[in-house]
Amino acid sequence: MIVDNAVAIAQSRRGHFAEGSYSGRAHVLLERSLMAFRNSAWLAVLSGFFEPVLYLFSFGYGLGHLIGKIPLQNGHIVSYAAYIAPGLLATSAMNGAIYDSTWNVFWKIKFDRIYQSMLQTSLGSVDVALGEISWALLRGFAYAVGFMCVVVPAGLITNWWAVMAIPSAVLIAFGFASVGMAITSCFSTFQQMDLINIAMLPMFLFSGSFYPLTVYPGYLQGFLKALPLWQAISLVRDFTLGMVSWGILWHVLYFVVMISIGVTFTAKRLTKLFLR
């Protein structure tokens, strides 16, 4: 039976998990995101799809002539385009998630006050955090599927494990979105937000999207491998290039940890920000 009384709905949550901060309605935030997407955000989302595709064609084919083939750890040799494609997929999953969870969230907190309006209803901070992160996941999923629709016909994928790149992209988006949102919830000025952009550029350039880390000295390699983007790229690359082993689980674990820290911290911060 449908209950259409706000008070009765709220009362029915008594005794449920995290009753003060979770109403079990994170999905209404997705509903909101979809409406906003239909109205205007679609252009931004679409552009996020084109970005890796443009890079793939420019770098993969243009530079590919100059670079030739890339040797892998397992002894196989792949074209430069096939080598960078997974890196670009992982990067676009990251960028979409980071953009949504940092600047978008910052804007919503500081200027639109959308979360204030949500939290003055019977929604809780956990609903908000989960709902916003889910949107980032959907976006990551869409990017991954879209990118696959380009790279498969382009002949850059030759094994079935590559399908796993899609859930990997979702996992990556989840990780970055939850940490991005946690960081944003601590920032209050544009200057602080710029720090995120500043940190993203070197990570993008040096995490092995465009060439193997072996061009660097050993100590630097170790540091770069600890960065989330390298983890993300390796995860996707292992699948798309068919280098599957149990070692992949380490990358997965990395993101699971990232997600749990990010979500917990975000929900705590949101509660503190709006319900002091």
Binding site: V7, I9, A10, R32, M35, S40, D112, R113, Q116
Partner: protein
């Protein structure tokens, strides 16, 4: 009209931020169906009190209950009882007018079937039927305010809380808004209003709590407050910026009470016209003069020695 059932009750309510005390041990009761106002200047503690009631701010000490429930224990339930109109509009700029109403209902967990007809009713109430498909960014200040109020009503709340409902609106938009609020009052919705406009407080509120620096200065109906704390009439005179202070001591003896403001002098008397006449007889000829009835502004001045808007 108001009956005796108490909806909100606060006892010794305190909110501190570090060393700063925003709300300093206040007590009040709000009855069902009444229109209750917090009047005071910016920083008096009105919005803080409102946010504690709305379960979006925790108190430092004291007790508060809304429909018999503690907001810190039953936050979501209390929020479901309330319609909140915050001081700064927080409409969803990415959505249209209609979508704003719809999604807000969804936030409460209401079904699409329930919300759809409700939207029609609320668009009509807020006089926004033609604007339903417009993005909220394109609305005027008054329209945004009406939409925020309509949005707060989507869950059919018991209590509607309005924080500075007409700040920043032009006179015409204010009157439209007041009219809408009267209609709600007629329907039996309990209104909780903060304002620093005395005319608004006089128009809208059955009962007023005058606040300053976190404390309650007085509490009564608007007419009761004026009766207790002011004379029937006020004579406002100007002698020019240099002369006001000079003539003030002379004027002091001629009336019940006097307030010297930077730009003018207020003389409190039962009969303003005859006081003005008396002034003329003593050879005191102000540049401008005005006789008016006492207002809540005078009450506030009397209670705190300050004007409401400074």
């Amino acid at each position: 009209m108001a009956n005796q059932e108490i909806l909100i009750e606060a006892k010794a309510l305190v909110k501190r931020y570090g060393d700063f005390t925003a709300v300093n041990g206040i007590d009040f009761q709000v009855r069902k169906g009444e229109s209750f106002g917090f009047l005071g200047p910016n920083g008096a503690g009105k919005s803080t009190t409102m946010r504690i009631i709305a379960a979006t701010l925790t108190r430092t000490s004291g007790d508060i209950s809304i429909l018999g429930k503690d907001p810190e224990k039953f936050g979501p339930e209390i929020k479901a009882h309330l319609g909140v109109v915050p001081q700064t509009d927080n409409l969803d700029n990415a959505l249209t007018v209609e979508e704003n109403l719809y999604i807000y209902g969804r936030y409460f967990g209401l079904s699409k079937k329930f919300i759809k007809p409700k939207i029609e009713e609320l668009l009509d109430f807020a006089q926004l039927v033609e604007k339903r498909d417009v993005k909220v960014e394109a609305l005027s200040g008054g329209m945004k305010r009406r939409l925020t109020i309509a949005r707060a009503l989507v869950s059919e709340p018991e209590i509607l809380m309005l924080d500075e409902p007409t700040t920043g609106l032009d006179p015409q938009a204010r009157h439209i808004l007041w009219d809408r609020l009267f209609r709600l009052k007629e329907q039996g919705v309990t209104l909780l209003i903060t304002t620093h406009y005395m005319d608004e407080a006089e128009q809208l509120c059955d009962r007023l709590m005058v606040m300053d620096k976190g404390s309650i200065m007085a509490e009564d109906s608007p007419a009761g407050l004026i009766k207790s704390y002011s004379t029937k009439e006020v004579l406002e005179v100007r002698f020019g910026s240099d002369r006001n202070a000079v003539v003030a001591p002379q004027l002091k003896e001629m009336c019940e009470r006097i307030e010297v403001l930077p730009d003018r002098i207020l003389l409190y008397a039962e009969d303003g016209e005859s006081l003005l006449h008396e002034l003329g007889q003593k050879g005191l000829h102000p540049l401008t003069s005005l006789v008016r009835r006492s207002s809540l502004e005078d009450v506030f001045l009397r209670l705190t020695g300050r004007t409401l808007i400074d």
